[in-house]
Amino acid sequence: MDLSSINPVLLLSALIVASTPILLAALGELVVEKAGVLNLGVEGMMILGAICGFAVAVETGNPVIGFLGGAAGGAALSLIFAFLTQYLLSNQVATGLALTLFGLGLSAMIGQGYSGIQAPRTADIDFGPLADIPFIGPVFFTHDWVVYASLFLVVAVWYALTRTRAGLILRAVGENHDAAHALGYKVVRVRMLAIAFGGACAGLGGAYLSLVRVPQWTEGMTAGAGWIALAIVVFGAWKPGRVLLGAYLFGGISVLQLNLQAAGVKVPVEFLSMSPYVITILVLVIISADRSRVALNAPASLGRSFHASS
């Protein structure tokens, strides 16, 4: 065992890259849940975003268009969920599961000819002298634009939810859809838009996995990242800042266990690989053990169908 081979600077830098897909997906799901909708299809939207983003980037040779393709793929899949749950009033849990199963199948089908090829590289942004600052430079100023976009999105979602009228309406719809309807807000329309936003974010996160993090396409490559994003929304108590913290914590654990594997720690590889999932479960338990806090933060109409007649 040689722990000195683990470089803290590289570790922190890799942590940010590892966390970004989950952060994007969790932010999208946060907005969806704030609107009172529980979309369990994050995993399906992520993996479809991963293959759509990868395929578009390979075909066009341009990773930026690839990311747009990934977001479009995730959003398109989420609209199936939106239509079923908002217009046909289907059970949100079951429909979300269907979305995941369908997304996994569809992505594997689309991705047939794409395994084993390289995606066009997404270049890191050049910050000039900033990148040369010891420690801080290599950790914070050597990433691609998506990392900074995701951090900007954290602030944007926080601002939009708490400081704008649109955010207030969205939260009203999520807290009490009957009251929001009585005030004349279009509950279904608000929720449709929120779901599409969540799908686009999940698709973007998936595309980041296949275009930057890995960067390759393999079947089922999300490996539960979508479910972990769902857990992080609960962990973050539906607050963007804490979701960021949760995503980075999780990214830190997954990078650390990979580094420990590489350093040859005397723990079987399988136990290291399962640690991110086990720790996510433990964190969920700690957070939800305090019933009053969860009840205080969770949107009151979460998971309930809305029909104007009832």
Binding site: S90, G105, L284
Partner: protein, 361 residues
């Protein structure tokens, strides 16, 4: 203008008719999908739904496979359906299936090469116990710490997959397997094998267990207070609490039973058709069973039929892979589509479509 109007009572007709409509709609949409892949849609649909049963060339091989594939699906889906009815979402059946298989096979391999009549029953019990214990983790976390059982049960699938990898490379590896991963083949160990009971039918003990589970669930739901409590808790949780139904006991019961059934399904598979513990012996029955449970309307008899139909799409999918070169993933997307159409059709049970202007009441 089209709008939905709530029915005073759920429609009995549509409750029975939506699965049929959903299957037909999936055939149409699937046909379009296959056409987009450049295959003749009519040939593809016939290969999936007709040839496995009636094609002279393949039926002899495919027909027994129908029961082999339907057995675990039905066994798992019966357990899941009880929880789904009560609003308890166990979506980690795949993990419980793996743990059941590991525990059951572990018992067999611990006694190798002993020959005794009691070994197989003991393996079945160990399998059920393994699945039960794995399902107890989300159950206890839910009842003690209020943790969401959907996320925990699903995340535990990934943990179980890692344990499976560790077992087939380490503890349970065949010592005479010249270093290859995977355990001894249980089919070559008569006391532990789960053989075909009637030659040429595919019938093994797992399918017997599935039929027993269907009957058991039917009796439970229609004749026993627990079945009544499950339905009550699902339809009117507040009323159920006033009636003295303990939510915690329901969670423990539903998750435990579905875990035990999934674990048994895993054991029957590993001792029979699969034969040995390998890194990837699980093929996603635990997830497909979710579709089976919904397709069967969460009713035991419905699940029996839905399990057979879903098994047919598995076999037909393999056949179309071999005959038409359809990608293996196409059938997975096809199954997901079926669930969408089913859920979309469900609104007809509770709502009526009205076309035209409406009088304001």
């Amino acid at each position: 203008m089209i709008r939905l109007e709530k029915r005073p009572q759920p429609s009995r007709f549509w409750t029975a008719a939506t699965p049929v409509v959903a299957v037909l709609a999936t055939m149409v949409a699937g046909g379009i999908l296959f056409a987009a892949l450049g295959k003749d849609p009519f040939v593809a649909i016939r290969t999936i739904f007709w040839d496995p049963l009636f094609n002279e060339q393949f039926a002899a091989f495919s027909r027994p496979q129908l029961l082999v594939k339907a057995g675990p699906l039905i066994l798992i889906a019966i357990g899941l359906s009880l929880g789904f009815r009560a609003g308890i979402w166990n979506i980690g059946a795949e993990g419980q299936y793996i743990m059941g298989a590991i525990c059951g096979a572990g018992v067999a391999l611990a006694f190798y090469p002993l020959q005794a009549w009691w070994l197989f029953p003991m393996m079945v019990m160990a399998g059920a116990l393994g699945g039960w214990a794995w399902a107890m983790i989300p159950a206890i976390l839910r009842t003690r710490f209020n943790t969401n059982e959907i996320l925990v049960s699903l995340l535990l699938v990934y943990v179980a997959e890692n344990i499976l990898a560790s077992m087939s490379l380490g503890l349970l590896r065949n010592p005479q397997g010249s270093g290859f991963p995977g355990s001894r083949n249980l089919q070559q160990y008569p006391s532990a094998a789960n053989p075909e009971l009637i030659a040429g039918t595919g019938m093994h003990w797992g399918i017997v267990a599935a039929f027993i589970a269907v009957i058991f669930a039917y009796v439970l739901l229609s004749r026993h207070i627990m079945g009544f409590n499950i339905q009550l808790a699902g339809q009117a949780p507040r009323a159920a609490r006033f009636a003295g139904v303990s939510p915690a006991r329901l969670v423990i019961f539903c998750l435990g039973l579905s875990g035990a059934l999934a674990g048994m399904a895993g054991l029957f598979e590993v001792a029979g058709p699969a034969g040995q513990i390998t890194i990837d012996f699980n093929v996603g029955y635990g997830f497909t069973a979710i579709i089976v449970a919904f397709l069967g309307r969460l009713q035991p008899i419905g699940i029996l039929l839905a399990g057979l139909l879903m098994a047919l799409t598995y076999i037909g999918g393999e056949l179309s892979q071999f005959m038409l070169g359809l990608p293996a993933a196409a059938i997975q997307a096809f199954q997901g589509m079926l669930l969408f159409f089913l859920l979309a059709g469900d609104f007809l049970i509770n709502y009526r479509i009205r076309v035209g202007r409406t009088a304001v009441v």
